[in-house]
Symmetry: C2
Subunit: 313 residues, 2 copies
């Protein structure tokens, strides 16, 4: 038996046929067309899924389940996407619509949750009974695994790590609150802080790398410059690591998972980031002499969405 | 069958015989004697337990289990109290020592965790599949129930809500960190903020109630004055409620439990506090139109420690 994983994204939706161990057998993608009605978007995804399935050499009868990860709030019980701002979806019956094309069990959940599940089934947190996955991208998302299973909360609105509060009356967040983790731990935060410091330090290597155009700065530029020893980039990097370490300490003090997995675009910095975070976290740990969550980098990269979605049950 | 609950405290240890529904049948207490060796402290507790058991009309053969809640870090697997600062306990074999007097299964856990369990078995969160208990006292403690069971973390160091970070580089905490929840949401925080404001506003009712002696201020004085409409006390109270609401929002965004239970001394303020918190929390909630954790006041009061300890398994 195989499973189909649908990783719904704002730009494109990736679809993979995955075996029981979480290995991708074949995959494809379809552009996200927010200009089309919901039912037609699903029709396109389903057609792509059938084509990818055929390429894998399996038939519809061999599909145990289909799962989808969506960048928004999904209700795993009803199969309804409550909302998904990027796609303009509000209370759309994802499961019911998809079942018009596939007569199999269909599951949905939040995309960061699904990526966390993938890492715990086939990735870096495999074998851990509990883990918290943190995506460090444009925003900050999260996925929680407890007793080997997804925990999305009693009302399905949990694991929104990006909107835990890290600073009372802090930076304004897109969500309307102030001081959310996302304002201090996302790629966006790195860019904001770099631009802020560059106003006073225009001689930084960062500006040189973007031909003097601050609008071209991304997190990678800043981290690359930090790695090369640029003082301003290092200042931004250390500020970022300090923020992230405190957010991680909050998660440890609250939930104390076996493993904390860091994923998302910022983690392309690899060991340079991981080593710095591992060095910083102990400063904020309450019980200095007791073991605490191991911090690791995600290893499934952009495949995590498909794999985790396929593994939903 | 009955169970014995031992609520170990810095001043006294309360011991109760509890039935399967969490009702206390008889109880007693013994002074905490930190001047005595650990083994003698346990001998005193065991003697008190035997006396309380006799008064309940039950025999040792009818004791299904004994549980203890300790104000520190306990390892439920080994039965060892890792440390308990108030009592000067460090890696003491609680279970082994207590079993010299009772040949029954003996369980231990953190006191706030145990109080949370009590509320979920016999109190205000009874029937809820998931709950987070927050004690608002001198410090801030926590207990987490997930799928009807205690969650203390993979390494037993979780549910330390008081040391989640609420403000980057904020108020210095007794733990060595800065900006911990405890600095903003404890009774101590109320007292600190009141004293700070009274320096500029000595005409407040608060100072009148303590005969002009700021060292006599406690959380109750401040909240009583707020209830009476004193402007400075109200300012402290609103500041406190705003902090607490943001800490609660972080818990909702992260774990999204079915119920959040507020306990501890500050909650003697009753509906005056609860109503204010319930009104403030929605300002910080991410998904304004979706249901979220219900916020309730603990109802077992100081009995929660004994009841929850007895219910450990």
């Amino acid at each position: 038996m195989v499973r189909i994983g649908v990783d719904v994204g704002g730009t494109s939706t990736k679809i993979g046929v995955v075996d029981e161990e979480g290995r991708i057998l074949s995959h494809g993608s379809v552009d996200t067309r927010t200009d089309l009605p919901f039912s037609e978007q699903i029709a396109q995804m389903a057609a792509c899924a059938k084509e990818v399935l055929q390429r894998s050499g399996h038939t519809v009868d061999e599909v145990a389940s289909i799962g989808a990860g969506v960048p928004g709030v999904a209700d795993p019980k009803t199969g309804v996407v409550v909302f998904c701002t990027n796609l303009g979806w509000h209370n759309v019956p994802f499961r019911t619509e998809f079942q018009k094309y596939f007569n199999t069990p269909i599951f949905i959940d939040n995309d960061a949750t699904v990526a966390g599940l993938a890492e715990s089934v086939a990735g870096v947190s495999k074998g851990a009974d509990s883990s918290v996955f943190i995506t460090l991208g444009t925003g900050v998302g999260g996925g929680i695994i407890i007793n080997g299973k997804i925990w999305s909360g009693a009302h399905g609105v949990g694991s929104e790590i990006g909107h835990m509060i890290l600073e009372l009356d802090g930076e304004p967040c897109t969500c309307g609150n102030h001081g959310c983790v996302e304002r201090y731990c996302s790629a966006t935060a790195i860019i904001r802080k770099a631009r802020e410091l560059l106003l006073r330090h225009p001689d930084s290597l960062i500006l040189e790398k973007v031909d003097g155009d601050p609008s071209k700065i991304n997190a990678r530029t800043v981290i690359d410059c930090a790695r090369e020893g640029d003082a301003i980039a290092l200042k931004v990097f250390r500020w970022y690591v300090k923020n992230l370490a405190q957010a991680i300490a909050s998660i440890i003090h609250f939930l104390d998972p076996e493993v904390i997995v860091l994923g998302g675009g910022v983690c392309n910095a690899g060991a340079f980031l991981l080593d710095a975070v591992r060095e910083e976290v102990p400063h904020y740990i309450l019980f200095k002499n007791l073991p605490y969550s191991e911090i690791r980098l995600a290893e499934l990269g952009s495949d995590a969405g498909m794999i985790g979605a396929a593994m939903l049950s």
